[in-house]
Symmetry: C4
Subunit: 201 residues, 4 copies
């Protein structure tokens, strides 16, 4: 089986999960306060929208990089991909939790839920990559060994880092929320400014 | 007509139906209880999300297997596909019903609705397959006879099994709900661990 | 410009508009009545879901037939396509209106809105076809003249028929609603059973 | 990296953002007034739907034109595209704001939010174009110099114009709203009637 149809399905889930994020911003406006005040008051919804959209966008770009090294897929890879996409499609839910509760006493539960979700996303990403790369099981004949090792080295840190930020969020929810945003921005700049040589997109 | 555009449309419906499932999890949080408690309390929503996402993902992978054996489509096949996709896109509704009502006296109605929907999905899947495979009407010249017979043998059980679980759910809704989940997990493992030889993805 | 990317965008709008229909079924369950009773009571939601999903599915299949005759697109064709897709994406709204109000005194306004929407959809479909076919402006070199004339002859009736049913709905909303459903079923059977020779899919 | 998968993802976001607009029209019907009256009363929702759908459709067509000149993408281009699509996917939110508040004292805040969003969309569009075109960094070998200059000249005005309309909206919200609609219609006609020679689609 070639990789085409998996990419169509994955791109659909990425695009829909990212675009559904805007529905969460809407729900915050149900109140009757003056709209100008309300629009400023719900800034956590905008921040959550930006951080989660960037996070999904970066995962999408990385998925792209991985699929470029892969020649074909088997059923196990497909099922691992479904599990991975299931965690990606879950992101809008904890995003809304954080946006709604970062300023009340639900902040801890909300940021921990967000962190667990992203840890699962990053773990799923590693699962599909290492399943494909171990023994070069599904890789292209001409997949470049340094590139493959570069991907393995970089992506391995994802789950550990998200788990660490989740633990920080358990102690201090606002610090955790800031770190989730900083991590997304770091990846955005790292991959666009410095990442070009190592893992050619 | 080649199969390309049907696959794009089908992949769109699969991806959207799966991704919309997350909206059902959201609706469960409208209550004013403490968020930590609420997040634990709505575990049926997470379970429903996982089971239905896996079910749609497995159907998508199987659809993939079927389309790989098919060379071209005609109008009848297109219309059967629309009917099949109509039942797939219905899945988020009974998923929400089960998640919301599995712990109250609506459990029977909810699980029966879920079961009828999945029985229709599995019947629609069989309809498109047997329409294409009867007399090798739409199959590729080089479609492998053992593979074709393997698909026919395996998928035929789908509607019967879902109907059986629906009857179990009518007697005992929680047992039915557990069986729907167990069946999705069985397919997930079966196709990724043992299914590789028989129906090469 | 080739037709590829237009088809991806159009297939996205078709798939999303069809899949969003399920959200309307959900909204009908807000009441607190016993769920078994409620599930039977909202049958117009299921009927609306089926009729509108079939209608969008048939339009998608016909769009497919049309695009198969077209070799390239220009800006005017793209803009007409955007207008056409705008009317397709509107369908979930009147579908919900009809499902919610077919049994109260809003039935007339609801069915007329549904009818106007489908008349616009059918008119938009004719606009893109006749723009492409007039003087064979965008058709493929090898587009078959009888097929082209067959499409022109068949699709021309769409707007007239939908307008006629809209007028019937203004007089008798339930009759109009039944006719919208009957027309979708007629197209479903016509194109799958008899339409094969005339407009090869 | 070729441009294929970026286009699939982008088309997904365009199609979903455009199709989600219909959900905003629904929310306006929560009132208990007679449905006929309500359906006429919510005309700003229809106007907002049309203007934002056309705007997204025109951006999609222009994105098409740009991608036709581009041979390959790098990580920076991908990340700029994610930022651009993030602003596109935001459009449904201010569309709903304007539709709901254009007739009350929230009109100023709503139209300014709409204007800022479209200014960001137009700026993001320019960012991806000028990143690709500067020094012909990502352009195709055979990209036509007059076409490239034509795109640069035309799209450059987008952010300035949207910013200007936003300032008008700050002074007179209804005038701003009318100008947003007029600008979308202008682009629709300009590109379909006169734009054919300059920037061949």
């Amino acid at each position: 089986m070639s990789t085409n149809r998996l990419e169509t399905f994955a791109d659909g889930v990425f695009a829909i999960a990212a675009t559904l994020l805007i529905l969460n911003v809407d729900t915050q406006l149900a109140s009757d306060a003056a709209i100008g005040t309300r629009l400023l008051h719900i800034w956590p919804s905008y921040a959550g929208y930006v951080v989660s959209f960037l996070t999904i966008g970066i995962i999408w770009a990385n998925h792209h990089t991985v699929m470029n090294q892969i020649a074909r897929v088997d059923r196990t890879f497909l099922m691992l991909s479904v599990l991975f996409l299931m965690s990606v499609a879950f992101i809008p839910f904890p995003t809304r939790l954080v946006a709604e509760h970062i300023r009340d006493d639900g902040a801890r539960a909300a940021t921990i839920t967000y962190g667990i979700t992203l840890t699962l996303v990053a773990s799923g990403f590693n699962a599909i990559w290492f399943y494909a790369a171990t023994g070069r099981r599904l890789l292209r004949e001409d997949a470049d060994e340094p590139t493959v090792r570069g991907i393995s080295r970089t992506y391995r840190f994802g789950p550990v880092l998200y788990l660490a930020i989740t633990l920080v969020a358990a102690a201090s929810p606002p610090t955790g929320a800031v770190l989730f945003g900083a991590f997304a921005l770091f990846w955005l700049f790292e991959s666009s400014l410095f990442g070009r040589d190592r893992t050619r997109a």
